[in-house]
């Protein structure tokens, strides 16, 4: 491992072309290889729903789906998403509608400050896609990569359970108002 004081910040990085699908839309951009996927989504695509909560790849607030599987978008280079389909929290439901998980988090009050919520919802979407009727333990295990520092886990679990039920019944909550 090299020492932390080696400075390369003056060097201009190369630029790489990037083509991928974000929330169903084809995109083509030029990015620096060091750009993390989460910064690409937030700063280039202007999709700010994926949050940066830690610098250690632990908190999961940046969770998105990469070809349907959950990843921490702060722990991937944007260029590594070449040719993939990325889904962010903004892509879960058409504008003006809520995905059943979003509706359940609102209904069950599965949040306090809300910062971790997009990551929890994306991880829960992946969990329910593989296991529509998870046990308490399976919900805990499925969400182990996400941290809520308000520690509102009880209602988060409740929200995932109730969304699972809604999805199994095909009962998609309508938007109010």
């Amino acid at each position: 491992m090299r020492g932390p004081h080696r400075c390369r910040t003056s060097r201009v990085g190369m630029v790489q072309s990037l083509r991928l699908k974000v929330n169903g839309k084809e995109r083509a951009d030029e990015v620096e290889p060091r750009l993390l996927l989460v910064h690409y989504l937030r700063e280039v695509c202007r999709l700010t729903g994926s949050h940066v909560g830690c610098d250690t790849s632990q908190c999961g607030a940046c969770t998105v789906l990469l070809n349907g599987a959950p990843v921490k978008s702060c722990n991937m280079l944007a260029v590594q998403a070449e040719g993939t389909a990325v889904t962010t929290i903004e892509g879960l439901a058409p504008p003006g509608e809520l995905h059943p998980l979003q509706a359940a988090f609102r209904e069950q009050h599965g949040l306090q400050c809300g910062f971790c919520t997009p990551g929890f919802i994306m991880a829960a979407v992946a969990l329910l896609a593989g296991n529509p009727d998870p046990s308490e333990e399976e919900i805990g295990r499925g969400l182990e990569g996400n941290l809520c520092r308000c520690t509102g886990y009880v209602n988060i679990r409740r929200a995932v359970k109730s969304a699972g039920l809604a999805l199994r019944q095909g009962d998609v909550a309508p938007l109010e108002g």
């Binding site: 491992m1 080696r6 290889p33 790849s57 969770t63 590594q80 070449e82 969990l127 499925g142």
Partner: protein, 268 residues
């Protein structure tokens, strides 16, 4: 934080990866899942001049049982090891260790070969490899696991050498891997693995020194008919673990004995 600038290329074959790395010079690195490398780059503890991305190399992504061995390509992800029928049938301990590695998001990306090359003292696959005398196959040679792991984050790999495959002997007999950790997704403070093979019990310990070790004293005691509780007392023989904020050396030795006993008692 953001990584320092670097150049990037994508390889589509083993030969291309090795040649791209050679062309890029001694400060270049391979990147596979990146679940350990990217966090290090973000805090600038790692500042490679160039990354060769091996994620698109299809010839590194396979699981095959052949001649009494399980051959696993370096690019196989933790999640694929968990799901694989082949792994569950022929070496269920590997699937169980994969299921307890990181969290769901990390298991989507992280790879077997990446864990081997990174050689974290708290890594779990290295313990399994050392316990079972696995072989690490690179683009140029075969390295026994016992020779591969040399020290903290240090392996026998040359700077431009690529891990291509890990070959484990097959065993579906009783086994168990127990991690002691503060949080579910965390690295083990200490872990113990046991696997019954046709040659008797194999016992390995994680994070009790710079590399994983085999607890040969425990293996010998078991083969001479000692009970799990008696044999597990030997688990800390000769260990010189370090002390850190999570555990003192003495506590790590204690954990080695307790986890070994529990793993033997729970093995199924």
């Amino acid at each position: 934080m953001r990584p320092a600038p670097f150049n990037f290329s994508r390889a589509h074959s083993i030969a291309e990866a090795v040649s791209q790395l050679g062309d890029a010079g001694p400060e270049a690195k391979f990147i596979s899942g990146g679940q350990s490398l990217i966090p290090l780059m973000r805090v600038r503890l790692a500042q490679p001049s160039h990354l060769v991305d091996i994620n698109r190399i299809e010839e590194l992504d396979y699981i095959r049982a052949e001649d009494g061995h399980l051959h696993v390509g370096a690019l196989v992800r933790h999640a694929a090891l968990v799901r694989s029928e082949e792994v569950r049938r022929h070496l269920p301990l590997l699937a169980e260790i994969a299921a307890e590695t990181g969290d769901a998001q990390i298991r989507t990306r992280g790879t077997l070969g990446g864990v081997m090359a990174h050689a974290d003292a708290a890594g779990d696959y290295p313990t399994l490899a050392i316990m079972l005398d696995a072989t690490i196959v690179t683009d140029r040679r075969r390295i026994p696991a016992g020779d591969f792991f040399q020290h903290l984050f240090t392996t026998a790999l040359e700077t431009d050498e690529l891990v291509c495959e890990v070959v484990f002997p097959i065993s579906a007999r009783p086994h168990r891997y127990l991690k002691f950790r503060l949080r579910q997704y965390d690295w083990a403070i200490v872990a113990a693995g046991v696997q019954l093979t046709e040659l008797g019990w194999r016992v390995g310990l994680t994070h009790v020194g710079p590399t994983a070790v085999r607890a040969r004293g425990v293996e010998t005691a078991l083969s001479s008919g000692a009970s799990p509780a008696e044999a597990a007392e030997r688990a800390s023989d000769g260990l010189e673990p370090s002390s850190d904020v999570r555990a003192s050396a003495d506590y790590r030795r204690h954990l080695a004995r307790v986890l070994t006993r529990r793993a033997l008692e729970q093995a199924s």
